[in-house]
């Protein structure tokens, strides 16, 4: 039972608001100081954890593997059950899980362009023509779009253009046509592997959920056809809504652990603790403070205090006397 001096207004509404946005329920009740504490502490802890995990520490996955792997029959993000208590900031994970696990999530086709692309590109190019031969890292802008003319003979019919800079030993501006899509990671995360392979280096695999791997041919026009002259491989940024809180693949999680080490675990801990803390805030919005208003006299440390009369603050002596049981005769 809440102290009569605390106006909880509608406790159900306050609890729902406190769940949706930490501190909002108390703001609604006019308890501004507590609203500030809850919002700063809970949202601060949650966002700090997310930032430490490169904003990839919150995602939801609830999946059974039917006989695919006898050592692993399920994949469940138990920690999300705590993270979800933060409310709106973690609820997109449920929508992303539904998008990710639905059959029509643009499939998991790594060779299909789902629409026109005009994006920053970072990667590696290798050109081998009679007049010009070079290779090296490139950055620039790439435009790609599905081509319905049906004149190409390899891969999905796509056509586009790249304009940027060749960096490395002999930097210079480069510009060329591209076509013949070889690989493009799905719109939603399907595999976080964005390792570049065409430079021939045996490098450690790199994983990212916010970048899409793209590999296509460099072509030159010969009559009606495009003649392949080389290859372009690299990454383009994935749209925010297509990676934020989307379930990470196992390889991507392992990549995060390798790169961030214990910092990734601490980051997850922050997000879990934030959710559990908000549980206290929700209960406070619904039921009021657990021990009382705060002007009561402590009976013993860690125990609920004796509530004073609403009209006067008791002295310690009076409180002690009133707490003494009277023997019945």
């Amino acid at each position: 039972m809440a102290d009569p001096r605390i106006n909880l207004k509608n406790p159900n509404v306050a609890a729902v608001l406190a769940f949706l946005i930490p501190g909002l329920g108390h703001w609604y009740q006019g308890r501004r100081f507590k609203a500030a504490i809850y919002s700063i502490c809970v949202l601060g802890t949650f966002c700090w954890g997310q930032a430490m995990a490169e904003w990839k520490g919150v995602y939801f996955r609830w999946q059974e593997f039917e006989g695919q792997n006898r050592f692993r029959t399920r994949d469940r993000t138990i920690g999300y059950l705590s993270q979800v208590l933060v409310g709106l900031p973690s609820l997109p994970a449920i929508i992303q899980w539904r998008r990710y696990s639905s059959d029509d999530a643009d499939g998991r086709d790594f060779t299909k362009l789902d629409g026109p692309i005009d994006a920053a590109f970072d990667g590696y190019a290798k050109l081998d023509s009679v007049n010009d031969a070079w290779e090296g890292p490139v950055t620039g802008q790439i435009q790609l779009s599905p081509d319905d003319s049906g004149a190409r003979g390899f891969g999905q019919d796509v056509r586009g253009h790249f304009r940027g800079k060749l960096t490395g030993d002999a930097p210079r501006d480069v510009e060329f046509d591209v076509a013949g899509l070889l690989t493009i990671a799905p719109k939603l995360l399907g595999n976080g592997n964005v390792t570049i392979t065409i430079d021939g280096k045996n490098r450690a695999k790199e994983y990212s959920s916010s970048k899409r791997l793209l590999r296509c041919r460099i072509v030159t026009k010969r009559g009606e056809f495009d003649a392949p002259m080389g290859e372009l491989e690299g990454t383009i940024p994935r749209a925010f809504m297509d990676w934020y809180q989307v379930p990470l693949e196992d390889d991507a999680v392992q990549g995060m652990n390798r790169r961030l080490g214990r910092r990734y675990e601490i980051a997850l801990l922050f997000t879990w603790v934030a959710g559990l803390l908000n549980l206290l805030a929700i209960w406070d919005a619904y039921e009021g403070p657990a021990y009382g208003y705060g002007d009561e006299v402590d009976q013993s440390e860690g125990q609920p205090s004796t509530a004073p009369p609403a009209t006067a603050i008791p002295t310690p002596v009076a409180a002690a006397v009133s707490a003494t049981p009277v023997p019945s005769s």
Binding site: D3, R5, I6, R31, F33, K34, I37, Y38, C41, V42, G44, T45, W48, R262, R263, I266, L269, F270, V273, A274, L277, L280, A281, W283, D284, G288, P289, A290, Y291, G292, Y293, G294, D295
Partner: protein, 63 residues
């Protein structure tokens, strides 16, 4: 942040502050009482963790 870059254990300090404030706020209503209880709880947490750290540090000597 600089301290945390040296050792991830420093991340536990802001975490302890948040836990102390939220826990104390869920117990009482008066701001002065909340701050007072939160300060005491924070010191208790730090003292407890520090003690455990010291014990483990001594026990791990020579390993």
């Amino acid at each position: 942040m600089l301290l945390a870059a040296q050792n991830v254990l420093w991340y536990l300090l802001p975490l302890a502050i948040a836990i102390s404030l939220v826990y104390s706020a869920s117990r009482f209503e008066l701001p002065e009482r909340i701050i007072h209880r939160a300060t005491r709880l924070f010191l208790q947490i730090v003292l407890f963790m520090g003690t455990i750290f010291a014990i483990l540090f001594v026990l791990s000597d020579g390993l």
